[in-house]
Structures are given as structure tokens and as C-alpha cells.
Symmetry: C2
Subunit: 335 residues, 2 copies
């Protein structure tokens, strides 16, 4: 079996560490691994397959001999270093927002549009976490009866921001319990015992960038620019695991039993929809979960083709690291 030289850029971040773990758990055919980060984090040691690997500084020259470079170090790092990695011979799978909407960059969720991978010009983009977990369960519905519109409200965990945000939530929580003063550095306001209707910066149109990512990326992944979609993205004091209240209107009618059976047979989806036994998706049960959890399926009783559902997923795994590795798994079939 052919083995590949893999680099992880942003190796010390929450997604980077999850990528390393996922490569290991899924037995990705790694020949040599290179762990890369900013100069500040260089020297850190991280285990891979029982071996301690020293993190090196990500810079021009280090991608020489690398087959696949997994990037998760933020948009600026991707913009600067991904083209260099490509020039040095790597295929980049980028978890940042830098190239997702570029017309010559495939935006891939392997359960949905794996065929786009072969169109890459050196860079393949991994969608945003909140987009991925929504499109995976919507895809079979889209194919079966069509989707006219989507209205989504998110409940997003702090791990989506990074390790500083996890630290901030825990610090603020401790301070609150000890009746000490709360300080905020990562978020504009206290996140402990609060919810923030802002994720990422505000755009000109008064939507946040996170909300517009969901809109644009979903259209690109479904290859449907007419899809009506609007989003409200909200940060909640959950450590890991994003949840979403997803409302859709289908083009044709579908009954809930048929919908359940569709989702039960969808790869990457786990249906948890037994309200009589109080079983439904929860962020705390996504911890060791690769699948997107879907439940609370019900018809909007006031309109013909409206459906409510509740979706939860591990935003670091399917929402980021796992999806990137799954792209890599498809990629190596063709390189």
C-alpha cells in the first residue's frame, strides 16, 4: 500500500490535535508526519503512533516532500502558506475560510460531493463546522424531495473558537462560582452562563461572517445558487459539540416516517429520535462521535412542507478534523 508524507499546519491547536488523533485512529497510510505551527509553538512535542514528534515552524521550504498538507491555523496562515505548500508539491486540505468560496477550489463534504476532489488545483477546502453538520443530514432530503428553503439557528460550542476560548469559559465559570470578577479576552462579553448572538465579525449586511459562511457554503456544496437560506449563529456555554435548530421547507411533500427511514440509511448520520424515551441529540454525547446526530423530527403543523429538526455533532471531528481526513482518504484514491 502506498504511504504518504503528511503535514499538519496548526498542529498545536484544538483542530490540529484532533487531526493528528484522527489520522492515527483511522489508520491513515502515513509515511512520515510533519507537525507545523507558528514559531511560538515550535518545539512542543506531540505523540503520533507512540512516537514523540517535535513541532517545527511552518514556513517556506518545510513542505518539500510533503504529499498532503492539512491546514488548520487560521485564514491568515492559510493565505500565506498554502500557496507555498502547493508550490513545494503538496496538496493542501484547508480548514480555514481563506479559499472556500474561490471558484477553482472545491469545497468538499465527502458524503455529498466527493467527485469535486479531482477538480482541485492544489487546494481543497474543508467547509465551516456549522455548515458541515447541517448539510450531511439535509443531502438525502435534498436528493429525495428537494429543499426550497432553510432557516437555521445555531447553538455553538466554544471549542469552535479554539483552546483560548475553552480556557476562558472554564476560567469565567470558576470565577463565577467563587464570586470573583469575570474577565473576557476572547469574546466581547462573558460567555459563562450567557449566550452570544455573535460568531466571528459582522459584515456590511449586519449578518455575522459565520452566518454568511453557512449561506454561501451550503449553496456551493449543493451546487444550487437558488437555495433560499438564512442563519442566526449563537455561541453557547458548551465546551464541545455544536447543535442546530434546522427548519426546512421541502419542494415536494415527505412524511416523517419516510424522512426517518431516509436518515436512518444515510452514511454519516445517526438518527436519535425517540422522544417517548427522551432520546434526542445532545452536545455532550457527541464527544466520541464521528456521525452527525439528528432527532426531534417533526412537521411544522401550520404549513404544508415545513420540517423542524435538531442536529448535533462534534464540531472538532466531523465539523473539522474528521471531514478533512475523509477528504484526504478520497484524495489518495486518485493520486
Amino acid at each position: 500500500m502506498k504511504r504518504f508524507n503528511v503535514a499538519v499546519v496548526g498542529a498545536t491547536g484544538v483542530v490540529g490535535r484532533e487531526m493528528i488523533k484522527t489520522l492515527e485512529q483511522r489508520n491513515f497510510p502515513v509515511n512520515k508526519i510533519k507537525l507545523l505551527a507558528t514559531e511560538r509553538s515550535a518545539g512542543t512535542e506531540i505523540s503520533f503512533r507512540g512516537e514523540k514528534i517535535k513541532v517545527e515552524t511552518a514556513k517556506s521550504g518545510v513542505f518539500d516532500g510533503v504529499d498532503i498538507a492539512l491546514f488548520s491555523a487560521g485564514s491568515n496562515a492559510s493565505k500565506e502558506l498554502a500557496p507555498i505548500a502547493v508550490k513545494e508539491g503538496a496538496v493542501v486540505i484547508d480548514n480555514s475560510n481563506a479559499f472556500r468560496m474561490d471558484t477553482d477550489v472545491p469545497l468538499v463534504v465527502p458524503e455529498i460531493n466527493p467527485e469535486k476532489i479531482k477538480e482541485h488545483n492544489g487546494i481543497i477546502a474543508n467547509p465551516n463546522c456549522s455548515t458541515i453538520q447541517m448539510v450531511v443530514p439535509l443531502k438525502p432530503i435534498y436528493d429525495e424531495v428537494g429543499i426550497d428553503r432553510i432557516i437555521v439557528s445555531t447553538y455553538q460550542a466554544v471549542s469552535g473558537t479554539g483552546k483560548d476560548a475553552i480556557e476562558e469559559l472554564l476560567q469565567q465559570t470558576k470565577a463565577y462560582i467563587n464570586k470573583e470578577e469575570l474577565t473576557s479576552r476572547v469574546y466581547p462579553y462573558q460567555i459563562a452562563f450567557n449566550v452570544l448572538p455573535q460568531i466571528d465579525v459582522f459584515e456590511e449586511n449586519n449578518y455575522t461572517r459565520e452566518e454568511m459562511k453557512i449561506v454561501h457554503e451550503t449553496r456551493k456544496i449543493f451546487n444550487d445558487n437558488d437555495l433560499k437560506i438564512t442563519a442566526t449563529a449563537v455561541r453557547v456555554p458548551v465546551i464541545n459539540g455544536h447543535s442546530e435548530s434546522v427548519y426546512i421547507e421541502t419542494k415536494e411533500h415527505i412524511c416523517i416516517e419516510k424522512l426517518r427511514s431516509l436518515l436512518r440509511n444515510t452514511k454519516g448520520v445517526k438518527l436519535i429520535d425517540e422522544v417517548e424515551n427522551l432520546k434526542y441529540p445532545l452536545p455532550i454525547i457527541t464527544e466520541n462521535e464521528d456521525d452527525v446526530l439528528v432527532g426531534r423530527l417533526r412537521k411544522d403543523l401550520s404549513i404544508k412542507n415545513g420540517i423542524n429538526m435538531w442536529v448535533a455533532a462534534n464540531n472538532l471531528r466531523k465539523g473539522a478534523a474528521l471531514n478533512a481526513i475523509q477528504i484526504a482518504e478520497e484524495l489518495i484514491k486518485i493520486i
Copy 2:
């Protein structure tokens, strides 16, 4: 000025205590106050206007001489005791779900339908917290351009469940921080660092009772049985202050500037919508707030008359105690 004998049933609960505080803060013309609760809580002392008042057991006979009885002791207590209070001469303002949908019981939000108060037959119902904070800002829009449909996802604080739930969130949070085991008694699952897509019990149609309360109560308050509305109610680890992601489709077009100006001039609403300065409603800023906070107003860019908004309110005040006292204030104008 005429003064009234007031009873508070459920005086030791979170809403009961807020009612007592609100009567005091708003200088409600109280002649004598009677604090009532279950036998278990009888004997507790609670301050009112600097005087310690002993809580008595709520039972037949105690409502003799009471003009207004404010009930917030749960549906069962209301079903049992409200008819008795009425028979003994009191007008009941009931915060429970017991009578809200009864055709001969007015369901009142004083900013919206105060005229219904005079139709009472002894009982006036206070709507559910999640309904009140939604209908207050929707009313001026409903009147101006009509509302065709509503799709709401809630982010509800644990105080809505009661003091045991606040205690449970704090206990679980402490246990988590101290790496101890978490136990749940009030909620079916851990609420600390988690979100629960279940509030109240499940109905036959797979919606929760909380979700159906929003549907039925909104239609009754707007006196519009054709209003299309669907809800997803979610508990979040916030101590106090409910938030809602409210999506509406208006019948006629309205621009955001006009909408802002409407809401700026709506009694009971405070518009906080300056995203350029990161100003928007948050549950933590509802603590001393009587108004419903509204912000993040924006058009659904994919459809003609769709509008997203974010609403937060103190669920114990405008969502419960304050609305009840405001009903009492209207009531005493006509008795």
C-alpha cells in the same frame, strides 16, 4: 386612592418572590398582603416593605377578603385553588398553564390586549414566559404590516424551571470544575455545559408542551387562529434571561429602518441593535430589565418579506411576575 388586599400563592418560589419584589418596586396599592405556599414552605418569612411576613398554607378559607390573588405555584395548585379563591371573592391572575387556553379566561399581555381583562370571569391568565417576550416586539409589526408566519428557536434559562433547577446548574457546574461526578434530578440530562432540546413534557405530536404553548398562546393573544407558527424550545446553561431567535415573514414589505423606528417607539421594548459597536441583547443584561430587548434585526436576503431578530428578556420579570402585576394594575382601574 383605593388600596387592595393581595395574595401571592407560591410566595417562596422564584416567580413568587419576584412578584412580591415587583409589587413593592412598582408601588402597587397594597392594603394587606398575604403570602401563601404549600404546607412545606409555610412559616418562611419574607420581607415586604420592610416588614417580615410569615408565609401561610394556601388552602380553602385563606382567600376571604382578598381582592387579587397572584398565582405562581404550578398548574396543579392553580387547578385546585384558583376556583376556591374566586369563590371566596378574589380575582385570580394565574401564571400557570392551567387555564390559559380556556375560552372564558382572558390571556393577557397588557401592551397587546389589555381590553380582554374586563371579560374575565374571576380568572385572568398570564402567558408563558417564552410567549410574552416574543409577542411584545411582534405586536407593532403585526399591526403595521401583518405577520404571515413565525419560526422561533429559544435559548431558555434554568430559572424558568424554578429554584431547584438553578441549584442543579450551579451544583453540576461546581462538580464539573472539581472533576466530580455530575448528578441530575430536575432535568433528564446534565444541563451544565450542555443544551437540552426539551422543555416540559412531550405531546402526542412530538412537540414539547413548551413549544405548543408558544403556538397556541400566540394565536390567542393575537386573536388570529390562522397565524402560522412553529417553535423549537431549548434549555441552555444560563441562570436567568431567556433569548429567542425569531424569524418572521410579514404580509407586506417593511424595511429594516422602518422596523427599527417602530420598535424604538414600542412600549415595553428596548431596541439594542448597533452591531457596529457589538451591541445586541444578551441574557446577562436582562437582570434589572423590565423591557424586552430586541436586536440583530436583518432581512432574510433570500426571500422578500423574511426578517430575523434576536430577543432577550428577564423571564422572571416580563416573562412572569411583571406581566402579572401589570395585569393587576390594569385590573384595578376597573374594579
